[in-house]
Amino acid sequence: MISSSSNISPHSKRDDLLSGSVRFLALTAGGLLLLVIAFLFYESWPALHHIGLTRFFSDPDWYPTDNSYRLTSMVWGTIFASTGAVLLASPLAILSALFCHFYAPPLLSRWFRRMVELLAGIPSVVFGFWGLVVLVPMIGHWHPPGPSLLAGILILAFMIMPTIMLVAHTSIAHVPLAYIHSASALGFSRWSMMWHVILPTTKVGIFTGILLGLARALGETMAVLMVCGNVVQTPSRLFDPIRTLTANIALEMGYALGDHRAALFMSGLFLMGLVVLFVSMAEGLRHRNTYVATK
């Protein structure tokens, strides 16, 4: 921004108009988040008012038409599926980021990265469709019924892997070359260089990537809706079908009325709270990280 306290450049009506409209647009865009939160609160108010927070965890089961609103098993479904996916995807993503930087020949590395970028752009409904027609029958063959927590974890892991890998890749690329050269000059093997130099300097960046991946997994709807079977139950095994909070919203929003609808908005609000928490943690870390990197 270039400005001075006493502006001597010609001041025209057009300038005022432009600055006014730009300010208006910016305030609208900035206020959008508040608007979203306000609407979620407004719509879920009947649920908070009539049902109360505790009944979402103490009611016998999720039968919204019979005035029974237990969300616990869906909360577990969401937690199991997304943490499973993060646990599976993170090591793979970190190893493939290392692969890109230190193992693959340049051409292969470029192609590998390009492939992961394309993978990141594939819509979730296509992942879900592929899971439904390829993965679920395979799991069903091995261990019926097929649509299961396991299928959800696999598809989610596959979807968030690119997010984590691309963030890790970028933060490895930002490791100062001097560190790597010093490590080589000290006679470090490739393994000790990665373990003692690269990973410690990039751990914040990698953790940011994992948080973003977790946020994406928690909020993912279509893929889990298509492969998880959507039975409301707390899973006890990997092969049990589950229903996540997001899938619940997508399934029932079409016909929900009154308190039922408000309960769905409540679970949306809850999800949003979780995701906002993780994203702001990741953003905070990212800012700290750039500070360290530029110092």
């Binding site: 450049s9 600055s19 910016a26 979203v36 190893l95 093997s189 997001t246 079409g254 995701v275 702001s280």
Partner: protein, 284 residues
Amino acid sequence: MSRQSNHVQEYCLTVIIWTAATMVSIPFIWLMGDLLWNGWSHLSFNFVFSAPLNAGREGGIGPILISTLLLVGVCMGVAVPMGMGTALFLSEYTRHDHVLGRLIRGSLDVLAGVPSIVFGLFGNALFCQVLGFGFSILSGGLTLACMVLPILIRTVEESFRVISREQRLSAAALGLSKSTTIRTILLPAAIPGLLVGGILGLGRAIAETAALIFTSGYVDRMPESLMDSGRSLAVHIYDLSMNVAGGNPHAYATALVLVSLLFMINLSSSWIASRWTLSNQLPT
């Protein structure tokens, strides 16, 4: 002795890392191969341009393509001017560390992480009910616009920010007014960034499903106006595979169309970015 064990360690790690890379590539190749193998045989001129029959088991995806275009058109028509204005405000009208700018930027960062299903809930409450647009392409497009706004603003702002300070100072020294500076110097210099931002947003909008199911609806007829309900390509895939028995062949073909569209979008944005050597300055 230790040298020996070092070698073993090194060798094992190499094997592990190559295995991990292979494990990442296999599903990707499998997915793409599967889509091509099963989708290609159903793809034809007729499929792309004719109307779906028998709930989509026969016929094509013509009206669905039109609905998708309209949805994306509404979305970009709202998001692009708003995104440009906000980005201009953030980069040209506030200092980088100004409180208001930081608040807006922070709220957009959070908005970027909000799950699409939550945008769907919000769109349903605001556009369909309060504003009374019902299940319509207008509601869906506006919901999509809210979704793509953060990524659009961030990219465009970055492309304004990388324009050198000298250009602004020279313009001020020549006595150009702010609006003339923006129109004749900043906007032309930022065009590649604007294009990349627009294309990224476009890709996001086309890929979206969850936010559209209960804002723009399921209807697969040819839309007659923006107030009609319309089904996007992504929703069509969902509906064919989950709700229509025997819909899989056409779901494959639709998925192939959708993924090819997205790849073209993705390639053109990275082509523009690399051509103007902006790629290292733009957020990925």
